[in-house]
């Protein structure tokens, strides 16, 4: 049987040289993402903004959106959105936080229930009061911070500090770009998005660590190899693994994206972007080349230069 081979054996791409393009691109994209965050903003879900989310299903089989909109408009609930998803019977109702504290949110739900009555099935009702939403947001932010910190400390123990720093920069890059993605697509930013961000962190690092592991191994084994070549070699030799792994993860995510349902839709969409697109790109084009600038193998390179100058012969280029 012929086996599938996505990445041919012994690839030899010059990933490191590509940093002259990838660094500026990532820089620009990161700035765009930050600008997006500040000027376009995230579509905060009720977890963080407070308010009410109701998932209803019309019993007749088709939801009359226009009619529902009219009914709800008459309730004077302030800002609200109706959105159809999945089958024509399913409608998401989002109601902005009501002024007047926690009681007012419950009153809003009661009003909607009374006006829509038995024409719909209330499949999901979520009400988050103003104080809880503030706390959830704070918790989420603290969580991401501690996750990064914890991972950094681990990497610092397992590798040299340069690796930890490189991984952290790569990490920030992932998070910033993913937030930019969430801003453009305006997917709900809620608790599950925080879960997605943290998972992306873990996955992207997972990838970075695999390459770093190889770099460390190569550093020990090939004391003379120039740094750029060593990095290139490390990335190339783990390339097949990176690709295969990401294909499998995207297959799993793909299934979740199709069948996961509304409740975890934002989670899977964000994961798809973060893990598959950014995570892989980052570990290859950002996390690895950045080691050049952080002085990994510095001492060795100095020795190398010394040896070269004392012999007064140009250093041999092993591979172009």
């Amino acid at each position: 049987m012929r086996l599938l081979r996505i990445v041919p054996d012994d690839t030899n791409f010059d990933f490191i040289r590509f940093r002259r393009i990838s660094f500026p691109i990532s820089g620009v994209l990161s700035i765009v993402a930050i600008l997006l965050y500040f000027f376009h903003g995230l579509n905060f879900g009720i977890d963080f903004r407070g308010g009410t989310l109701m998932e209803v299903q019309a019993k007749s089989g088709t939801a009359e959106l226009a009619q529902m909109r009219q009914t709800l408009a008459g309730l004077e609930l302030g800002e609200f959105q109706l959105q159809q998803f999945g089958s024509p019977a399913d409608v998401l109702i989002r109601i902005a936080q009501q002024p007047g504290g926690d009681e007012a949110q419950q009153a809003a739900v009661r009003k909607v229930r009374e006006s829509l009555g038995d024409s719909v099935d209330y499949r999901r009702v979520e009400v988050v009061g103003p104080r809880v939403s503030g706390e959830l947001l704070a918790m989420g932010t603290i969580g991401i911070f501690f996750a990064i910190l914890g991972i950094l400390i681990y990497l610092w123990f397992r590798f040299e500090w340069q690796f930890a720093l490189g991984a952290m920069i790569a990490n920030m890059h992932d998070i910033v770009l993913t937030i930019g993605f969430m801003s453009i697509t305006q997917v709900d930013f809620d608790l599950t998005s925080i879960a997605a961000l943290l998972t992306i962190l873990g996955y992207s690092l997972n990838d970075t660590v695999v390459i770093y592991d190889r770099i460390r191994e190569m550093l020990r084994r090939y004391k003379k190899m120039p740094m750029e070549e060593l990095l290139n070699h490390s990335i190339n030799s783990t390339l097949s693994r990176s690709v295969i792994t990401h294909v499998t993860v995207s297959l799993a995510l793909f299934a979740l994206l199709i069948y996961g349902g509304q409740a975890i839709h934002s989670f899977t969409a964000v994961m798809m972007f973060g893990v598959v697109l950014v995570g892989t790109y980052t570990s290859i084009f950002i996390a690895s080349p950045i080691l050049l600038y952080l002085g990994v193998g510095q001492t060795r390179r100095e020795a190398e230069a010394e040896a070269a100058s004392s012999r007064a012969t140009p250093p041999a280029k092993a591979k172009a």
Partner: protein
């Protein structure tokens, strides 16, 4: 790397099998599992998002608790000074403090001593912390200030929460739902989780009602309508309203309480024998019954009000003294509202109002759908991955697939062992674990391929592949595990479910990668003595 002693191999298989066996109770209906010995009953619990139900976070109104505590202190001060026959003026309660001015300077010292007796050591006999409940200080000029200490307030709030939990438990249990869970959260919050409710309105009404019941006389000397219009209420009265919704009639009710709900021993819904309207009948304890008898004897012909949470339920006229210590409340009840009021009265009043600050309800229909979808996603994801792995690695792909399936079975085993809750994000965590688990195999196999290309013999390459890849697998999984751990500690509800399955998935992945996959390959190598690696 490829050598396994017989014992070690048996150990690995035994662990994998045992953990997988733990998942068995999930495949049997609850009825069957209940007949098994206790240790075998541990099984997965479906989260509220999968089985449907309500998650309601309540907050005890700590301001009300504070207010009440200070008002009680003020009443105590009044009583103490009155009993000691000390003249005073300007008794006020504000914030956490009560202030009073003693009229005669000569009485000040005696007043101070008497009032100091109000301050008690906190923490009872065992946990005496040296702190007291009230700070009493002389402000000069005959002014004495009493401040409720922070520790006393915290203690009072803690007690209120405890009490509220007990009362809520009694109320929720009356609903007759299966396995409701009521937990304290943080300082002043209570999380109520009730599975399988169609409509949580009734639950919310039961939770949101303080149910403070009082019997008080109606003031007949002043006009309620006038008071309502002018806003001038006689000092000993309170202006309350009867009837919910449209028609609300004002009633002037005396502040003095004849009998309160604390003196009830029982309350039952029933029907009036003449009008066959739904009613709630109740019975007082001895003290309550005696007091009620006395007041009704003295006030025949006057109306009295039955007040529930500042709302007059009804204000019947006392036709004859009620001596038997029992009575009934009628007031436009439906069968359900009479039943609910009886539940509330039996369970007792909450020490402070509760506010719903978060609610997440999933209907049973959506829960069932989510389970179906979760299954589909798992089958589709798993199927795609299995096909892909087989296409990429052939026989070794098959090994990997076996390892992944064992892995997933072990996740379910561990989850059952922990009686963990499976949520929709939890299923997502399992599907993602499949990705991670496959990755560990990919790392090993790619390494083997590399070693083969570097010119090693098949067996040497496999051996080296395992030993080199395992270090990487450990490193890369620890990072993801840290992320999962953080999620577990900060997350609530559904997100926590994700963190749990992801974390457990990583552990089982490490186990299968380090032992099971290696064992399978070792057995194959020993049987076949391969010259080439078939991938």
């Amino acid at each position: 790397m490829l050598y396994f002693s017989r014992w070690k191999a048996a150990g690995v298989l035994a662990v994998a099998l045992l953990v997988m066996l733990c998942a068995v109770p999930n495949f049997f209906p609850d009825k069957v599992v209940e007949s098994w010995p206790k240790w075998a009953q541990r099984h997965l619990v479906l989260g509220l998002d999968l089985q449907g139900g309500s998650h309601i976070l309540l907050e005890v109104d700590s301001n009300a608790v504070r207010r009440e505590k200070v008002e009680n202190l003020r009443d105590d001060v009044r009583r103490v000074l009155r009993d000691a026959r000390i003249g005073y003026v300007g008794l006020t309660a504000r914030g956490d403090t009560v202030e009073v001015r003693i009229r005669e300077g000569a009485d000040a010292t005696q007043a101070l001593t008497k009032l100091r007796e109000l301050s008690q050591p906190l923490g009872g006999l065992l946990g005496n912390t040296g702190q007291r409940s009230v700070d009493v200080s002389d402000q000069g000029n005959g002014v004495i200030r009493l401040t409720v200490t922070q520790a006393a307030m915290t203690e009072r709030i803690r007690q209120s929460v405890e009490q509220s939990i007990q009362i809520i438990e009694r109320r929720v249990n009356e609903l007759g739902t299966v396995e409701p869970s009521i937990q304290r959260q943080g300082v002043d919050r209570i999380l109520v989780q009730v599975p399988g409710l169609q409509d949580p309105s009734r639950l919310k009404a039961l939770l949101g009602t303080t149910a403070k019941l009082t019997f008080r006389l109606v003031d007949m000397n002043n006009s309620a309508a006038e008071a309502a219009q002018s806003g001038r209420v006689p000092p000993d009265d309170e202006l309350l309203y009867e009837g919910r919704g449209g028609q609300r009639t004002p009633i002037l009710v005396e502040k003095r309480i004849m009998v309160s709900g604390e003196d009830l021993t029982d309350a039952q819904p029933g029907f009036d024998s003449r009008t066959s309207e739904p009613i709630v009948s109740f019975r007082f304890n001895t003290t309550g019954g005696r007091r009620f008898a006395q007041v009704t004897q003295e006030n025949v012909g006057r109306p009295f009000a039955i007040v529930l949470d500042n709302e007059v339920i009804s204000a019947p006229v006392i036709r004859e003294p009620i001596l038997g210590g029992s009575g009934q409340i009628s007031g436009n009840f439906t069968v359900q509202s009479a039943n609910d009021l009886a539940i509330l009265l039996r369970a007792g009043a909450l020490p402070a109002p509760l506010t719903i600050i978060e609610e997440r309800t999933v209907g049973p229909g959506l829960g069932q759908d989510s389970i179906e979808r979760g299954k589909l996603a798992a089958y589709l994801g798993g199927g795609l991955v299995i096909v892909f792995m087989f296409a990429t690695y052939g026989l070794f792909g098959l090994f990997a697939n076996i390892a992944v399936m064992v892995n997933v079975a072990m996740i379910f085993g561990v989850l059952s062992l922990l009686n963990a809750t499976l949520t929709l994000p939890g299923i997502a965590g399992i599907v993602l674990t499949v990705g991670i688990a496959v990755d560990s195999n990919v790392l090993i196999y790619e390494r083997i391929r590399e070693e083969v290309r570097a010119g090693r013999s098949a067996i040497m390459a496999i051996d080296a592949g395992f030993s080199r890849a395992l270090a990487t697998i450990l490193d890369s999984n620890v990072t993801t595990f840290i992320a999962a751990a953080v999620l577990f500690f900060i997350g609530t509800g559904a997100v926590r479910g994700f963190a749990v399955t992801l974390g457990i998935g990583i552990l089982t992945t490490l186990f299968t990668a380090f032992t099971l996959t290696r064992l399978i390959v070792a057995v194959w190598v020993r049987a076949r003595r391969p010259q080439t690696v078939p991938m």
